[in-house]
């Protein structure tokens, strides 16, 4: 089936089965491999993208459900001022170890800070607890979110 998607501000047409998760449309059909596969079952958050600004697990989102909503991925989130600030904080604090989870972490953090510019620890925990990091970079993730929100490290 043909679908027309809005991804990172661009219109992209794809010809895929309607049940294909957005994750695989992004990665395999469109070559946007920044969004990561970790579990395929909404357990890890590695595949987090924004759909109309809300953090969504792309691995369980069939492409036919996306419709004309705006999709933002890690490749495009830097165009958003909050996203850019989060990416900068991630670099300043030197968050990643292997880095594999970090696209999803950055997408969740950006959605959090967009909705809540000065989150406290409890709000950070709540927004980020679904994003697993096998390397356990949680201490620096938290520090980076605080830094990006101007709350010091």
């Amino acid at each position: 089936m043909a679908f027309t998607l809005t991804i990172n501000g661009e219109t992209r047409s794809v010809e895929v089965e309607g049940d294909t998760p957005l994750l695989w449309v992004l990665r395999d059909t469109l070559g946007l491999v920044g969004t990561k596969f970790g579990c395929g079952a909404a357990q890890c958050g590695a595949c987090t993208v924004h759909i109309d600004g809300a953090p969504v697990r792309a691995c369980i989102t069939p492409v036919r459900r996306v419709g004309d909503k705006k999709v933002v991925t890690i490749e495009g989130v830097g165009k958003d001022p909050v996203g850019a600030k989060v990416q900068d904080a991630w670099k300043t604090i030197d968050v990643p170890q292997c880095g594999y989870c970090q696209a999803g972490q950055i997408m969740s953090a950006t959605a959090l800070l967009t909705a809540n510019p000065k989150p406290d620890d409890a709000a950070i925990d709540e927004a980020m607890n679904g994003n697993l990091c096998r390397c356990a970079t949680y201490i620096r993730i938290k520090a980076a979110i605080k830094a990006a929100s101007g709350q010091g490290a």
């Binding site: 998760p21 990561k36 970790g38 890690i74 292997c98 096998r134 620096r140």
Partner: protein
């Protein structure tokens, strides 16, 4: 090296290779096959300098998140004397003839390369000086360098490296051993925090990982293997898979019987991974019976209980006379400990891209250890090792899983049979159910204390997996774990039972479990003797001295351990009063040439555990190469250990792993991650690796803190709901 490595033949091979080649072959001037920019001067296999002064430094070891792609090039850049900002790091291709050991494992890279790679940089610098001296017609001895420049003091002339590199590359390099390395006090790069060169790409989602590789004409593959490890395909109907839109082919891969090699299974190849996965789900596979189908965790536990009561199969070490010591002791303490199998659970599932064409294979592999993979591929596909090219790509978490190369040989074989380049990606379920698991084990301790509360005898009857004298991979124990050689009467006995599941090295192999059992039982002895746990350990360590022979990986310096123990006690405020339900626990353990002590503060309220804070002190020698990465490795190791201790167990039924995802083999979450304060104690010893040694003391520090808070001893992992 630790005793576990000593006993495992493959592991020993890596280490011998590394030691033999360190500094020798790595100075080879043959080139890797990566592209070179026009006008670059190639100073050696690791260093190229462009006319504009841009420096490319090749990193030889796979990057798995341990930060080696930053820290090893830092060693070269320091002695080459360049600005770090001018450096671009390039990942080496797998080629031992040029680079020697290329293994991310055993925390050995820093240990083995610290001197040799500095000499690589120093050799480059000497060539640049020689080129400048020749151009100026002055003696080389009158020239010096400033970052990126050769300078001639007397005449105040300067030449940029970029202007000299071409000429320098034509000169004969000096003997690296003849060069004087920098005084560490003059270091500008080593010892300063540096970020990864991949950082920009990671935070903007650029392709850097194995799973991101795309090559022209590439198809996507899934591979279904038997839940019972190694079972063959009895029958399969491929038609439903082939009927799925996008599926190009589906076929049986014969495979062999070795659990470390290519196993039997069914491949589905499609134009997208989702189609390959749908096709695989449509398969109806009947698996043949397999002798290990009867094995189960319940069976292992029952057999371990029998073996624990029976006379041990053999004695690995016996010092003095433990039985006599126990008879004469004022107090005898016994306790039994056990820990489960666990999976590596890398966040990036196992994957590999391979292209077989005209008898040659090109591979892009997220591997920690490419060379054994090359051998597997050569044997399985019947190609020459020299016809296999292996590109090393960033790895989304190693932890020892990717020392194995099963995914590599699978991808290569599927590419050959499909007649196209393929990217094989495992599902999370494949990944959890086909790991090389950290083996479970059982320890039956007895110790004797004299009237003063001093340890007079220590015995461990270790029940593990193996056959005859052979341990299953990563299931052995080195006989010299502390308190061996610190107590006069010591015995380590072992009994083994057979295992038909794949096991392997997981972060701080074997030590990740020994730290738990030994340091928890030590805590029990402190309590039984009425002494403070830190004071008891101090006394046990005694005077600063080396136990064992100098230069041996299993020799243990009591003073270095005492140093980190004292430091962590000081930083954590050990001995302070804590409120009811709150407690501090301590543990210290030596592995991978590193000494680490950990204190945790926890509270338990209505069965709910909260870890308030962790303090760690580590002695890994005279120099921390990259403080930012070093702190991350210690924090990551400790949090990794906490996650495993709290939650993780793989169990077996009908010969297969029961767990299949993060839902039933959970990783630590942000809400469970305490702050971890890290301190380094610099000592006059060579710098050693840090990817692993902070792990082993952490589980014991946690369980000892739980005891301090609640009076409940955790003797079986995971903690799970034991506090409820």
């Amino acid at each position: 090296m630790d005793g576990e490595m000593l006993r495992d033949p493959t592991r020993r091979l890596f280490l011998q290779t590394g030691a033999a080649l360190g500094g020798g072959l790595m100075m080879s001037f043959s080139l890797s096959s990566v592209g070179h920019a026009a006008g670059e001067g190639t100073l050696n296999a690791y260093v190229r300098i462009a006319p504009d002064g841009g420096v490319t430094i090749v990193s030889k070891v796979p990057e798995v998140g341990q930060g080696i792609k930053t820290s090893l090039p830092m060693l070269i850049a320091e002695e080459l004397d360049v600005e770090w900002s001018a450096v671009t790091v390039e990942q080496a291709i797998a080629d031992t003839k040029v680079f020697g050991r290329q293994v991310a494992g055993g925390s050995m890279a820093t240990t083995l390369e610290y001197d040799g790679l500095r000499r690589v940089g120093a050799t480059g610098r000497a060539l640049l000086i020689a080129a400048a001296a020749a151009r100026w017609g002055v003696p080389a001895e009158t020239c010096a360098t400033e970052p990126g420049f050769v300078v001639h003091g007397p005449s105040k002339r300067r030449l940029a490296y970029g202007e000299l590199a071409q000429a320098a590359s034509a000169l004969t390099p000096p003997d690296p051993k003849s060069l004087t390395l920098k005084d560490p006090k003059a270091f500008r790069i080593i010892g300063q925090p540096h970020r990864s060169g991949d950082l920009d790409a990671i935070v903007t989602g650029q392709p850097v990982y194995g799973i991101d590789v795309r090559v022209p004409g590439m198809l996507y593959a899934t591979f279904a293997k038997a839940p019972t490890f190694g079972a063959r395909v009895a029958s399969v109907d491929l038609a439903p898979a082939k009927a799925v839109a996008g599926v190009k082919s589906a076929f049986v891969v014969e495979g062999g019987t070795a659990l470390t090699g290519l196993l039997p299974g069914v491949a589905v190849v499609a134009d997208s991974w989702w189609a390959a996965r749908k096709g695989r789900n449509a398969l109806e596979i009947q698996w043949a019976d397999h002798p290990t189908k009867a094995q189960s965790s319940a069976g292992f536990a029952a057999r371990a209980a029998e073996l624990s009561k029976a006379a041990p199969h053999r004695t690995l070490r016996s010092d003095g006379d433990v039985d006599a010591a126990f008879k004469g002791a004022a107090k005898v303490v016994s306790a039994a400990y056990d820990y489960p199998f666990i999976a590596h659970a890398n966040l990036e599932p196992q994957n590999c891209t391979a292209s077989f064409k005209d008898g040659k294979v090109e591979i892009w592999a997220p591997t920690q250890n490419p060379e054994p993979g090359r051998k597997l591929v050569a044997a399985a596909l019947g190609v020459a090792e020299t016809d296999i090219t292996i590109h090393l790509v960033r790895v989304g978490g190693g932890f020892g899983r990717r020392l194995m190369n099963d995914y590599m040989v699978e991808a290569a074989m599927i590419s050959k049979l499909a007649g196209a380049p393929v990217k094989l990606v495992w599902t999370r379920e494949d990944d959890t159910q086909h790991d090389f698991y950290r083996p479970g084990g059982w320890h039956n301790f007895t110790a004797g204390l004299d009237a003063k509360g001093d340890l007079v005898g220590w015995r461990d009857h270790f029940v593990t997996f193996g056959e005859g004298e052979q341990f299953a991979t990563a299931a052995g124990m080195n006989a010299t774990q502390f308190p061996c050689r610190a107590v006069d009467n010591y015995r380590l006995d072992v009994s083994v039972m057979p295992l038909g599941a794949p096991t392997g090295f997981l972060r701080a192999p074997a030590n990740n479990a020994f730290g738990f059992v030994i340091q928890c039982f030590t805590d029990e002895l402190a309590v039984a003797s009425g002494q403070d746990p830190v004071a008891f350990r101090r006394k046990l360590l005694g005077e600063p001295r080396l136990l064992g022979d100098p230069g041996q990986g299993d020799s243990f310096h009591t003073g270095r351990m005492r140093g980190v123990l004292d430091l962590v006690a000081e930083k954590s405020g050990w001995g302070r009063k804590t409120s009811k339900g709150t407690g501090l626990g301590v543990a210290c353990h030596y592995s991978h040439l590193g000494y680490v002590a950990v204190v945790m503060e926890v509270s338990v309220s209505k069965g709910a555990l909260k870890i308030h804070k962790v303090w760690a002190a580590a002695d890994v020698g005279s120099q921390i190469v990259n403080p930012s990465g070093a702190e991350q490795q210690v924090q990551g190791s400790i949090l990794d250990a906490i996650g495993a201790t709290l939650h993780q167990a793989i169990t077996f039924e009908n010969g297969a792993a029961v767990q299949s995802s993060f839902a039933d083999h959970p990783l630590l979450r942000m809400t469970e991650a305490p702050p971890v304060e890290v301190h380094f104690k610099l000592s006059d010893n060579r710098p050693t690796g840090l990817g692993e040694p902070a792990y082993p003391p952490a589980p014991a520090a946690l369980c000892n803190a739980i005891f301090a808070a609640t009076g409940k001893r955790i003797r079986s992992l995971p903690i799970g709901d034991q506090l409820a």
